[in-house]
Amino acid sequence: MTTDPAASGPPPLASAGVDEAGGPSAARRLGFGIATVVLGLIALVAFGLGSESGVDATFVFVRGGEAIEIPDLTFPARTVALVLGVVIVALGAALAGGLLHRVYGVFGVGLGLFIVALLAWAARDDTINIIGLLDGSLRRAIPLALGALAGVLCERAGVINIAIEGMLLAAAFTGAITASAANTPWVGLLGGVAVGALLGAALAMLSIRYTVDQIIGGTVINIFAVGVTSYLTARVLVEYQDLNQPGSFRPVGIPLLEDIPVVGPLLFDNTIYVYVMFALVAGLTWALFRSRWGLRLRAVGEHPRAADTVGINVLRTRYRAVVLGGAVAGFAGTWFTLDAVSGFDENMTAGRGFIALAALIFGRWHPVGAFIAALVFGFAEELQGRLALLDTPLPSELLLMTPYVVTIIVVAGLVGRSRAPAADGEPYTTG
């Protein structure tokens, strides 16, 4: 099957973009080759020819306070963008012409160089702190990665969780209120996790016991979370503002490790969310693919009847997975009010739960893949934030679209290549 819209024959449904042998098709190679050439041309024309000659850009690699400092990198912006543009065009042409075969590898390299050219252009006559950019990307990836992990737990067990957004929002709200009331963010953390688990239980009840269409069940929870949090914000938080002052977690540096240049400030001087995120990615990867629990959970998601036959309690396994996923999403939600900013705002999650869902698909239902995908989305979001501050002629409203457009492109470009668990979304009934 091909993905080329112009190709004759019925359009693909499930396995779009993968030919019979399982490799990328010629049409896909051509498409990505052309896309790479277009990126190169944009870099060449907009960032290269479009910028003034003789102006330098500077990349900074220190955050301050490190023992060993890496010197700043200063270079002529126009020349670098021009060279990069030519290289990207050449890569794309080679891919489209059949000289190169690793479609995603080549496209990835092209995209990476494109971003460097973009940064060089944006930082002309100015500086960009690369450490700050990467650190911000990591921070913004937190709710996406954790949300995607929640999705991995539910969907590996065969329950589609589209309610991640609602869980994030409800947990952010609860986290803010309970932390304010108890005067410590730890209580907020617990409150958020509890609410997440509760909504997970609600989703599980709807989809497992009452066999409600899982996408509709999730949408209901999303609408409900928006309604209740908006209602209570207008009703309670506006009047009792001290209930919306939760305070926030402080970064905790890990001794010795935090002094390593570049890596230290990036990875080992963070709030607990980053550490828990890494622990969960590693732990879930092990648990899902190396433990008995994980084998059973995946069996239930792939072939519930077979799992039932060998004595696994399908429904109970699903209940537990969805409630656990809800708890993880709840934990992610508290990040908004206990780390990102201190306080709740209506609809503050702004679709992050759905982007997490895209990260889950992009990451092929695997914890590590989901984490990497979340980093990509986090980078897109952070980059947009940085560009808005620099002197770029793009209007801020259009820059704000970036994460959403990137999500669409990723889902459209890659969804056919990743396969959902076979029984994802299907209720299991005996008899």
Binding site: L13, I160, T211, I216, V220, I361, Y404, A412, R419, A420
Partner: protein, 386 residues
């Protein structure tokens, strides 16, 4: 005679679950109102000292809220007019979601399609200067086309790449919010002399005529909505295209085996759904008295539309009824907030509860111990993989 009785019984049975769902949602919503009112909560704090006081003050706030809701939505001809004005976009947007449901697609993107439709119609409405006989139809067509194009993106992405429409339509919603922000700050749209995001008003010649019957006032968009209901009923029940849409919705694999073009059907379905949502936005900007584009409103209607379609069970006439009910809630909630300071957001809670109970008929039947009789529940969507 017995045929009529049978038909009545069928309709009655079909209405039973939605009616019980509405009742349950109102009861639970009442509890939410009672237990979130600060004064009432204080009374409950002294429950053991004065149990009667706590109960009666809870009863007071709930009954006052619901009475205000009733009075400002159905209590007078002018209130009914406001309800009808609210009903119009809800019906059109609800039809959009319902039509997509019948093709096996979950259109969460009505919000974005509304915005793009309203933006296109508004631009035609206040930029061009034409005689009425041309201007109004052109503005309506522009709105429908804008929505159709926005909807077709999601359909095409699904057909060509397999990207699930739930994610793409949600993302397209966010993109459209930013587009609207951008448009409302641009010189082509923003009202001269204003700093807040509001567009110029639509020219007289592009406005939907107002209908006045005594105190009852609404705009002609309502007729558009009713016509759309009849059109969708005809499309789904009487046309070849509608048959193909339903077949693809029921089983895409079998449809493809039968020689139908599944992908093309997805694109057409989403374009039609988008056109209906676009008209919903259009009816609003061309009909509602401010005649201008602002942020906020459209995304709410887009999400209400999902509830309307579910409550109406994806049936065109059911959607019209559900839209009227939600119109009552929308029109009434404003009056309720003014009279009792119960925030308008309560209707979102009530709506979510209604959908829970409608989507989970087993749950409602379990609460009221009503037995299920014949026929499977309609399946609305398909999952990720397929």
């Amino acid at each position: 005679m017995s045929a009529v009785l049978d038909r009545g019984r069928t309709v009655g049975r079909a209405l039973l679950v939605p009616a019980l769902a509405l009742l349950t949602a109102l009861v639970v919503g009442g509890l939410v109102i009672a237990f979130s009112d600060p004064d009432t909560l204080n009374e409950w704090g002294e429950f053991f000292g004065d149990p009667v006081g706590a109960l009666s003050s809870s009863w007071d706030i709930v009954s006052e809220s619901y009475r205000a809701l009733w009075e400002s939505s159905l209590g007078s001809p002018s209130a009914l007019g406001r309800t009808l004005v609210e009903t119009t976009p809800l019906a059109l947007a609800g039809l959009s979601v319902a039509l997509a449901f019948r093709s096996g697609l979950f259109n969460i993107g009505a919000a974005g399609q509304l915005i793009v439709g309203a933006t296109c119609a508004g631009w035609v409405g206040f930029t061009w200067d034409l005689p009425r006989a041309i201007h109004l139809p052109l503005a309506l067509i522009a709105g429908a086309l804008g929505g159709a194009a926005w909807g077709a993106i999601a359909g095409a992405l699904k057909a060509w790449t397999g990207a699930h429409e739930v994610i793409t339509t949600i993302m397209l919603n966010y993109v459209s919010y930013r587009l609207l922000d951008y448009a409302l700050r641009s010189t082509a749209f923003q009202r001269p002399g204003r700093n807040d995001p509001i567009s110029q008003p639509v020219a007289e010649s592009a406005r939907l005529p107002e209908v006045t019957i005594g105190e009852l006032r609404f705009h002609a968009g309502l007729f558009l909505a009713v016509a759309a209901v009849l059109f969708v009923w005809w499309l789904l029940g009487r046309s070849t295209l509608g048959f193909r849409m339903k077949a693809v919705g029921a089983n895409p694999f079998a449809s493809r085996y039968a020689g139908m073009q599944v992908g093309a059907t997805y694109v057409v379905s989403m374009a039609l759904a988008g056109a209906l949502a676009g008209l919903a936005g259009t009816s609003n900007i061309l009909g509602r008295p401010s005649y201008s584009l602002t942020g906020g409103y459209y995304s709410e209607v887009g999400f209400d539309a999902i509830a309307v379609a579910l409550l109406g069970r994806a049936n065109p006439f059911g959607v019209l009824g559900a839209a009227f009910l939600f119109g009552v809630l929308r029109a009434g909630s404003t009056g309720m907030q003014a009279a009792t300071s119960t925030p308008v957001d309560i209707i979102v809670v009530i709506q979510a509860l209604i959908i829970v109970f409608v989507a989970a008929p087993h749950l409602v039947r379990a609460i009221y111990r009503v037995r299920a009789r014949g026929g499977a529940e309609p399946a609305f969507t398909t999952n990720w993989g397929s």
